[in-house]
């Protein structure tokens, strides 16, 4: 079984580029160039240098002793929370800004939900001196004020998405419309492993640094490259794609994908796409998505803004369909509890997205000698208000 994208842009039956003709020249330009550009020694040199000196990579692979003791298994945390700007998102924005420069683009657009990808995009635009426009749902702007302020300090223009439900899905629509209106000078930095081909593959490749490092770091710690499990939370699926990438074809490594169940899978307030979703088309790709019987895209819900997306990237739809990955779903309450637990046991306050991945230890039993690597995709600073309100801190 092949779990990577094929030459037509599909993962099994998922993926492709279901885009209006207006976007075709942009997406086609990217498709024809992305692998070539990424293979250029000069590109790789600049990318690696920035990841090291600016982002602070490699991010540590940390054996969480007290957490391991509690769950009677060996848990390693991949510390993407220690990256500059506080999450894995910057791996992708560094890669894409270098791509945009090589394609001669002078104007950058992005969508954001919680604001993490918006901040990561505004950051690299400041670094490269490029104009930056971030679309953000009007509702998210109100509930993520600190990240809006960060983007503004970094010189970005934040434009409220006023259409539809005024959250991430609509911000993505607005960014796509902007790209239709500005087909020549603009590059769209998508923030997850979603969108029309080649985006899911390109974003995955930029994030694959995560599993590349896990391999040699685990070798140093344990004398072996492959853990028994790799675990990551899935919104659109970029941190997960990066965490799995170099293990996809290692049969001994089991893959666990953690979705947000929100108030519960059957509550009507959920983002557990693998269970509630059906094959369809969202933002230019064929994948699993939450929709009505009539094919209208529905609004997901999760306490974590980063997991609050009605689809999953096409690679994950394929991993789900083929059974390569085990999909689990975690409720708001379970995630919040695990976030607090990690803070108390290890002195690490995780992003609520990452807390979802940590919450599986209460639901699934691992063997004592299993090695489980959890991607800690981000830190909890951005979520302090949510933690405060939830725990009445």
């Amino acid at each position: 079984m092949n779990y990577n994208v094929n030459e037509k842009g599909y993962y099994g039956e998922f993926g492709g580029a279901y885009i209006p003709e207006m976007l075709y020249p942009n997406v086609e330009e990217l498709r024809q160039n992305y692998l070539k550009v990424m293979a250029e020694p000069d590109f790789q040199k600049e990318f690696q240098q920035l990841l090291k000196d600016y982002v602070g990579r490699p991010s540590p692979l940390y054996l969480a002793k007290r957490l391991s003791e509690k769950y009677n298994t060996k848990i390693y945390l991949k510390r993407e929370d220690l990256n500059h700007t506080g999450a894995h998102k910057i791996n992708n924005t560094i890669g894409q800004i270098l791509m945009a420069k090589r394609l001669g683009k002078s104007r950058i657009i992005a969508e954001t939900g919680a604001g993490q990808h918006g901040v990561a995009t505004a950051t690299v635009c400041a670094l490269m001196g490029l104009e930056c426009i971030v679309y953000m749902g009007e509702i998210d702007i109100a509930r993520q004020a600190p990240n809006v302020a960060r983007m503004k300090m970094l010189g970005a223009t934040v434009i409220p998405a006023l259409s539809g439900s005024r959250t991430l899905k609509d911000a993505t629509n607005e960014a796509i419309r902007d790209w239709i209106n500005n087909p020549v000078n603009t590059h769209y930095i998508i923030g997850s492993a979603i969108g029309p081909h080649p985006y899911p593959d390109m974003v995955t490749r930029f994030q694959s640094i995560i599993s590349e490092e896990i391999k040699w770091q685990l070798k140093e710690h344990e004398g072996r490259e492959n853990p028994d499990y790799v675990v990551a939370c899935i919104g659109g699926g970029s941190n997960a794609a990066g965490t799995y990438y170099h293990f996809l074809h290692e049969e001994s490594v089991k893959i666990i994908a953690v979705e947000a169940a929100g108030l519960g899978v059957d509550s009507g307030e959920s983002a557990a796409t693998s269970i509630l979703g059906k094959e369809g088309i969202i933002h230019g790709c064929k994948t699993l998505l939450m929709q009505t019987k009539d094919g209208q895209i529905t609004e997901p819900y999760s306490i974590s803004a980063g997991l609050d997306y009605p689809g999953v990237g096409p690679m994950h739809a394929h991993l789900c369909k083929t059974g390569r990955a085990e999909f689990m779903s975690i409720t708001d309450d379970e995630a919040m509890k695990s976030g607090l637990e990690l803070s108390k046991l290890e002195g690490i306050i995780p992003a609520i997205e990452s807390s979802h991945a940590l919450a599986i230890f209460d639901k699934k039993k691992f063997k004592e000698d299993d090695i489980v690597v959890v991607n800690l995709s981000g830190r909890g600073d951005k979520d302090l208000d949510t933690y405060i309100n939830y725990f009445k801190l």
Partner: protein, 255 residues
Amino acid sequence: MNRINQKLEKSKRLLSIYFTAGYPNLNDTVTIIQNLEKSGVDMIEIGLPFSDPLADGPTIQASSTKALQNGMTSEVLFGQLKNIRESVQIPLIIMGYFNPILQFGVEEFCKKCSEIGIDGLIIPDLPVDVYNDQYRATFQKYGLINVFLITPQTSDERIRFIDSISNGFIYMVSSASVTGSQSGFGEEQTNYFQRIEKMNLDNPQIIGFGISDNTSFTQATEYAKGAIIGSAFIKHLTSFGINSVDKFVSNILKA
């Protein structure tokens, strides 16, 4: 022969009007179609509303949202159009995004269209190659014409390919924009119109996006077989209601 082809053969300065089915009220669909035909419109695009219309500007977004709130679905639309051919003769095209059609079942959707007397489909986010590889035979089986878009950025080579797999007309998007963004045409557009005109394509072209009044309609039909108006008509419906359709149309067509 498909009604679209007949119409294209016979007419010049063809006017096609787009509206969103289920807007302003759920059951206005048939009345709007009948009023448009009576007012002298040559062809109608019935918009099947979608929650996430990527290629549309604020006007069509808002009409789509309202139509969905009103309860419009593919099923409801087919129900409303069941007897449409008893009262309406002009070509009817359904324009909608791909996901609702995919969920309905592409073959089932085409079958329904053909039973009712729909003549063609415009599906902006169904890629040309996917249509060609997977759905072309189905469309042909049910006698449906699929209409593709081209834009000022589309290469000549790709236009030739699209022309080769089209069997009705080519939808020429007037500028790099979503629907309803601008009005009137500058030099850039007329250069593009002339470039396409000179290509001598097999399929006639109809220009859409950015046409809102008699001036832009006249300009567009100097270079192409016809023109499509969407957002401006929906704005008119919003302001003046479904019984003033003829006023809008006569303003566009005035000599």
